[in-house]
Every structure is written in structure tokens, then in C-alpha cells.
Symmetry: C2
Subunit: 261 residues, 2 copies
DNA sequence: AACGCAATTCGACAATGTCGAATATCCTCC
DNA sequence: GGAGGATATTCGACATTGTCGAATTGCGTT
């Protein structure tokens, strides 16, 4: 890991958390000399990744990120393929649907279909949800057992009173998810919202994304038709990506001690 | 400018243009040894800014960018303040409206209101348009005369047959825009689409963004009511940001030879 | 107008990233 | 199914490059 790039990424990450920061504040947060931080920030600014707060000496994230992320969404094959299916699923179920990918300990929503009832809803694309508190996250973790093992070793945050933070309980859920390909979450991220998710698989059988249906907790558990629709949607998207089987075969945990060769 | 960060940004920029690239392709494009590029890419990947193409050894932009850009949009004070006004403007005029900021030679659309006629339209937030081919770009350049001077020195690309690329003609437009605060563009970015834009000013009188109304070229020139609505919108947003005067005073070109002190 | 804080500039040192060669891995073509 | 080529990845020595502390400038405040 190149030090300067690592530090630059940490600067972006700090600005992501704090929105607006001065050089001194950043240097305190990162534990680096001010002049070092200054050099990094100016380099990022030179590419539009960071920008000066209008009328101030503090810094914030820059517009280049917006352009980059727009291209990122366009390059995602899954997203382009999935959109028509998730829209259909939203219509069928009358519920909002999501598509997400894993980013370390979180799930990033890469596409969102609003509930078709026409009510005013916030667009969710770009939102990040802690993986352990989300149905999509549980799916993704259940099929990345190595990463999941690491995650369960760390202390997990609680978002609502219902968030499951006990490693043993989560581990048990992962095992059963890897069996049948369906994950659920009840009020674990947002009170009043529960969700069901299923994995999306590519040609070589890797789980690369997850689809979810968001169900108001008042209507929990969802009807069987919702579950069937979700399963079909995940299967259709996966098939379009070239997957031969669905649900994916349960993953193997790579062993700590590899067999001697 | 820190070399490693500069190179990392160039890697992102290359991936932005080409979508999917292998290490060798990247190294050819940047004129750097493969091992150097590899180190940079792996560092970026370690922060989710770049990710491996599913089922391949090529690389693409990563999901962290989406999360960062989402926060970027949230931190923009102008955007939050402007949204309700641009929505109103779209309703009043029956046309689509845009909000944009400058990113070097381009304008990045940070908010977009669709035409209220209910037709299917592509969301434009995140789109980048060459500044010299856009009404918003012309506004922003007209109030950054130093940057504009540099831009006019470089050769300008043509997007449609109507794109103005002659430095003299553009320079003349900038002068008149700086006078009355209204810029126009006819078929210069997209055939069939023209637009009018006005500057948004903050407390200290800096032009920090632009609003625009997109007019189908078949309805050009727009009605006076559209121009008045646009002007009012720009003034309202600016006032909410603490600006005392609108339109902003014409900017002074900083002189090449500063007065001796 | 003067104080204090924060951002910025500068230069020397050595830690750090860079590069070329060697190795491993993947894909393609026979 | 095997061999060849191409591409990604690892490694270690060198010197370029980033880092750091001190000095300077600029800004906001009293």
C-alpha cells in the first residue's frame, strides 16, 4: 500500500464523515503534521477531488467525485441488466426494491426503485448501510465467509434496538442463508422497515450483488408471492449475466492451513 | 503536487474514460512501468476506489466513489437551498432545469429537475458538459476571467456543428454575459436542445454555481417570462445564500503585471 | 490597529515510492 | 490436453520523492 495514496484516501474518508474540515482539524484527525496534510489536500484539490468551501479556508469533497461515480454506475454491468427486473418486481409487489454491492463492512445501494404507490420517497442510490444490519449485506457476507469471519471478530454497531450484533447469532444466520439463498432483516437498520434479499451470481458462480425488497414492518412477514418474486428476479438477473445455476452453491471457507503440496 | 497522488488521480481519470482497463493498458496510457501502476491500483483498490472487474483481471472504478459522491451532494449548501426554487421554476416554465458547478473545463450538473410533462427523461445529475458548449459553463467562465483566458488559449472541441470554438466569439459572449448575467447556448452541446443560464452568488459576491433552463430548440427563443423566471430564481437562491446584490458585479481580470509596491 | 490562530511556503534529510527483472498465473491456440 | 504467449504480481536496490519542523504570510477577532 503506497503511503501517500493511503493517506489521501483517508483524507477523503475524513471529509466524508465531517463534511467540512480545516487543515489543522484534518491533521489532528489523521495524526499527521499540518504541512503533510496540506500537501495531500492541495494535490487532491488539483484534480477536483477536494474543493475549498466557498468563502472559507476549510475543505470539502469535490465535484470530480460526482463525475467519477456517475461513470462508475454506468460501467456496472449488473446494474444495467438488473434495472428492468427490479422495476418489474417493484410493480408486482407494490414495494420498493434495491440493488446493492459490498464495500468492506457496508452495502452500497447502486439502484433503487421507489414504491409504485406514488408517494414522495427519498432516492436511495449511493446510500451505505452497515452490512450486518441489512438483508443484502447478510447475503453478501454469507457468500464471502472469509470476510464475514473477520467482520464477526470486530465489535459491531447497533443502529436500532433490533440490530443483531451478536457474532454467534449472525454466524448462524449466514449459515442458513448460504443454504437457501434468502436473507431477512427486521427493523435492524431502520425502525419500521424490514427487508428480504437474494444473491446475484455471475458466470463463474461468484456472488457479485444482492437484490432486496423493502417491506414495511407492519406488513411483516411478507407474502409468499413476494419471496417467490424476489427469487425469480435474482434468478433472472443472474441468468442474464451468464450464471448457470441459482441459488449459488454454498461457499467453502478457505482453510487456515492449506494442504501441503 | 505529490507525485503518487497525481498519478493515482490520473489512474481514476483513465478508468473514467475507458471503463475497463488492465494493468498493462493503464501503464501504456500513462507511460509508466507496469509495476508502478500495479502498486497504485492496488492502493486504490484497498480503499474501494477501484475494483476488480468481476471475473477478470481488469480494473474499473470502485463503489467507494459512489458513497463519496453521495456525501458530496449532501454537503453542497447551494444544492439544498436551490432545489425548491428550481423545482418551482420547472413547474412555472414547463421546462427542465439544471444546477451546475465548474470542474476545470467542464460543468458538472449537481441537480436536475425533469420537465413536468411526465415524459420519460434521463436523470442528468452527475453529467459533465464542456463549459464552452453550455450556457451554465459560459456563465461560470464569464465570472472567472483568469480561468477563461487560459481556456480560450487551448483548442476547443466541437460537440455539434453549432458548437462555438472560436476564442474571439466566445470571449465576446463572456463580456456581454458579465454585463447582464444571462448566458445562452443554441444546439451547442446537443442538437435540438438549447439553454439559458444565470449565475448564483454567495455572501462575498463569488459566483459559485449556475442555474439553467433547457429549451427545445424548436421553441427558441424562449418567452420573456422564462427569462424573468430564471433571473428571479437565480436571485432568490443567491439571496438565500446571503448575497446582497444580484446580478453580481462584473469581475476584474487580474492584471498580468501587478503594480509595484 | 494589534493580537492570535490557521494556512501556506521552504529546504534538508532520509524514508518512501519507483523501477527492472524474476516469478506466478491466466488465457489462447494448437 | 499441452504448450506458448501475454498479463498480473512479487521482490529488492537505488535515488527520487514525500515528509517534516520551522519560518512566513494571511485572515479574522478583539
Amino acid at each position: 500500500m503506497i503511503q501517500a495514496i493511503d493517506r489521501a484516501a483517508k483524507v477523503l474518508s475524513s471529509l466524508q464523515g465531517a463534511r467540512h474540515l480545516g487543515i489543522t482539524e484534518l491533521s489532528a484527525e489523521l495524526g499527521l503534521p499540518v504541512s503533510t496534510v496540506h500537501g495531500i489536500v492541495k494535490s487532491l484539490q488539483g484534480h477536483g477531488l477536494v474543493s475549498q468551501e466557498p468563502g472559507g479556508n476549510r475543505y470539502m469533497l469535490g465535484p470530480a467525485l460526482l463525475k467519477l461515480s456517475n461513470v462508475y454506475l454506468d460501467t456496472l454491468d449488473v446494474r444495467a441488466r438488473a434495472m428492468r427486473w427490479t422495476l418489474e418486481l417493484a410493480r408486482r409487489t407494490g414495494l420498493s426494491t434495491r440493488l446493492g454491492v459490498q464495500l468492506f463492512d457496508e452495502v452500497i445501494i447502486i439502484h433503487h426503485n421507489q414504491r409504485p404507490d406514488g408517494s414522495q420517497q427519498m432516492p436511495e442510490t449511493g446510500l451505505a448501510i452497515p452490512a450486518h444490519a441489512s438483508a443484502m449485506g447478510k447475503v453478501l457476507l454469507a457468500y464471502s465467509p472469509d470476510y464475514a469471519a473477520g467482520l464477526l471478530g470486530r465489535p459491531l454497531g447497533s443502529l436500532t434496538g433490533a440490530t443483531i450484533t451478536d457474532p454467534a447469532r449472525l454466524g448462524a444466520q449466514f449459515a442458513s442463508i448460504a443454504g437457501n439463498g434468502i436473507a431477512t432483516e427486521e427493523d435492524e437498520a431502520v425502525l419500521g422497515e424490514s427487508s428480504v434479499a437474494a444473491p446475484i451470481v455471475d458466470t463463474r458462480g461468484n456472488v457479485i450483488a444482492a437484490v432486496a425488497v423493502v417491506v414495511p414492518s407492519s406488513e411483516w412477514p411478507p407474502d409468499t408471492s413476494v419471496l417467490n418474486g424476489l427469487r425469480e428476479t435474482a434468478r433472472n438477473i443472474s441468468r442474464e449475466l451468464g450464471a448457470s445455476t441459482w441459488p449459488p452453491r454454498a461457499p467453502q471457507r478457505s482453510v487456515a492451513v492449506p494442504p501441503e503440496s
